[in-house]
């Protein structure tokens, strides 16, 4: 529907879709989008990948596949992404500037696209010193901003970064970026998003948001700048699993602020339970974490300019289903299929 309308508005030569990905079409039809996250294993165990797929499929419009996150070697995001596509779960491959130079990035993007991958999240990448190969040499030939621009020019201008034409057309990717509303310097963050829009990003996923007031302030500035009309902003959320996990996020992960009241709420859920009954405690914490996450999604939905949520259930994929259902975001929409024209355009 709105896909067709969009096509009419576009210049006659412009393809109907940037990528034709499910995520792009869900957003184009005005649905509140839901993405999730799938961390590949530190092995070639594809059964594990398939298990996680079964926990996400049907509950998210697309799933991010991390790219050696925290600098730890894992099954490649593209390799894993191909399995997702085969299994009918749309992939958003993450692509960091840490491990690849501009040659490898461009070649991998084309390789991913021919295997049906249509979304990419452009990242600088966690520093290798956090991972399991701290002596590795990092690349950072381009930065995340330059990466966005490079993918956009490959797609829209059919040209390699070096200037040469990509014969037959470049990879058609829906371009994502990360946004971190609570990192230093905080007043700069909306402007940084503006720069990413200028570079060519189509959607943004934010770092996990718990501090609703802070996020509302950020979004207000984003809306004032008119950015929400140019980029789909998916607010990052995640269920708190236990009080220690909540504190860990707050203290150790840059850009995540977990207000004390949130931590207290998870703690209180364990009150009255025998502290030796670890299983019952864990269940109580988890149930409260899911409940809190659902409430946060509902609050986020009311914020002007937010186009969806990105649910990060770290090592807890089973939480996705109750969260999505609890937030009233199930079933996921099925956007109008790509017609033949669109497929050809793409």
């Amino acid at each position: 529907m709105s896909g067709q309308a969009q096509a009419k508005d576009d210049a006659p030569t412009a393809p109907r879709w940037k990528s034709g990905s499910n995520l792009e079409r869900v957003l184009a039809e005005g649905h509140f989008a839901v993405t999730g996250e799938l961390g590949p294993p530190k092995s070639m165990n594809t059964d594990l990948v398939r298990k996680k797929i079964s926990q996400l499929k049907g509950f998210v419009d697309a799933a991010n596949i991390t790219d050696n996150q925290t600098g730890i070697v894992r099954l490649s995001s593209i390799g894993t992404g191909i399995i997702l596509e085969q299994e009918g779960l749309e992939a958003v491959i993450q692509m960091t500037c840490r491990d690849r130079n501009r040659l490898a990035i461009q070649s991998d993007l084309m390789g991913a696209n021919i295997h049906g991958i249509k979304n990419v999240l452009c990242l600088s990448g966690d520093h290798q010193s956090f991972g399991n190969h701290p002596g590795a040499k990092n690349v950072h030939d381009v930065d995340s901003m330059q990466l966005i621009r490079m993918v956009q020019e490959m797609r829209d201008l059919n040209k390699f970064q070096g200037g040469e034409e990509i014969k037959g057309g470049g990879p058609r990717m829906f371009i994502g970026t990360a946004a971190s509303p609570f990192s230093s310097p905080i007043p700069m963050r909306p402007y940084r998003l503006a720069k990413k829009v200028a570079a060519g990003a189509d959607f943004a996923q934010t770092q996990m948001v718990f501090d609703m007031d802070g996020f509302k302030e950020y979004m207000k500035k984003v809306v004032d700048l008119g950015l929400h009309e140019k980029i789909a902003i998916l607010a990052g959320v995640g269920p708190l699993k236990s009080p220690p996990m909540a504190r860990f996020l707050h203290e150790q992960i840059p850009g995540i602020i977990v207000p004390e009241e949130n931590i207290k709420r998870i703690e209180d859920a364990g009150k009255g339970i025998d502290s030796d009954d670890k299983k019952a405690l864990a269940e109580a914490y988890r149930a409260e974490g899911i409940k809190l996450c659902i409430e946060q999604i509902q609050e986020i939905r009311e914020i002007e300019g937010v186009a969806g949520v990105h649910i990060m259930a770290i090592l807890w994929e089973a939480a996705i289903e109750p969260i999505v259902k609890g937030a009233g975001l199930y079933p996921r929409p099925e956007p109008a299929p790509l017609d033949d024209d669109a497929a050809e355009d793409a």
Partner: protein, 273 residues
């Protein structure tokens, strides 16, 4: 300046193994300012190595000499006569000094006594910080005089990553996030518009990616005889071409073998004196 640190004693002892007489050569410039390879440090290290060898029951004599500038061939010339006596030279120059020695004296084993760290500055007593990676394509114009290529561990050129918290860098929380510093000062410098422009991918060909860099800074000074590599015939020919009889450095050096005069001539040649 170039900042370096002495290698660990076990590493140095390993290098000394099997040698009987070694010359430790210090350098009086950068590495003396950072207390790694100046005269004092060279003396101290020579003594320490000799003592350590004695404790292990090894016979080792370590003599020492410090030249003013080990990275310039002129200044290591006076070592030529004595080097035959030694089994090896332990250079306490930076990596440039070690190589100047190794290339000038190809039949002498030249060992590195220092780990050369970076180009930087002292920021507080006993602390040196890196300031320049020598990428050959300076970006300080866009960043208010603060270098993200050097000071951001991800070499970001378009603003900070999501890792900066309370103004500090996620990779080392004792170090400020340079992009936060750049941003915080951008209003003072009226740099906001520039910071909002997407900087295109950098041309790294001037950096290490292109292999060893060879820069002729001043063509007017690039005369083979100026660095003492030309034959007498070449020097004469060049002089004749220049129409001047007494204006080449090689001539000055030949006329006055005194070291300080040589240094003056060298500096003059570089336009520094």
């Amino acid at each position: 300046m170039i900042v370096a640190e002495q290698k660990s004693l076990p590493d140095l002892k390993r290098m000394m193994k099997g040698k009987k007489k070694v010359l430790a050569v210090g350098c009086g410039t950068c590495v003396s300012v950072c207390f790694a390879g100046g005269q004092k440090e060279t003396r101290g290290l020579a003594k320490a190595l000799q003592t350590a060898a004695a404790v292990d029951g090894d016979e080792l004599v370590v003599e020492e000499k410090t030249v003013q500038r080990q990275c310039v061939q002129e200044f290591i010339e006076p070592l030529a006569d004595d080097l035959g006596e030694y089994d090896a030279v332990l250079s306490l120059g930076c990596g440039v000094g070690v190589q100047t020695m190794a290339e000038r004296y190809p039949t002498t084993r030249v060992l590195p006594g220092l780990d050369t760290n970076f180009m930087g500055q002292p920021t507080e007593p006993g602390v040196w910080e890196e300031r320049c990676v020598g990428c050959g394509n300076c970006v300080l114009e866009y960043t208010g005089g603060l270098c993200p290529i050097t000071r951001c561990p991800k070499q970001l050129m378009n603003g900070p990553c999501g890792g900066a918290e309370d103004g500090m860098c996620e990779v080392d929380t004792s170090v400020p996030c340079i992009w936060t510093k750049i941003w915080n000062n951008s209003e003072n410098l009226n740099l906001m518009d520039m910071l909002m422009e997407v900087q295109p991918p950098k041309d790294w060909s001037t950096s290490r990616g292109g292999g060893m860099r060879r820069t002729v800074v001043r063509d007017d000074l690039h005369q083979p005889f100026a660095i003492g590599k030309a034959t007498t015939a070449e020097v004469e020919a060049a002089k004749a071409a220049e129409g001047s009889a007494d204006d080449g450095v090689a001539a000055t050096v030949a006329a006055d073998p005194d070291a300080s005069a040589r240094e003056d001539a060298f500096l003059k040649d570089l336009g520094l004196a």
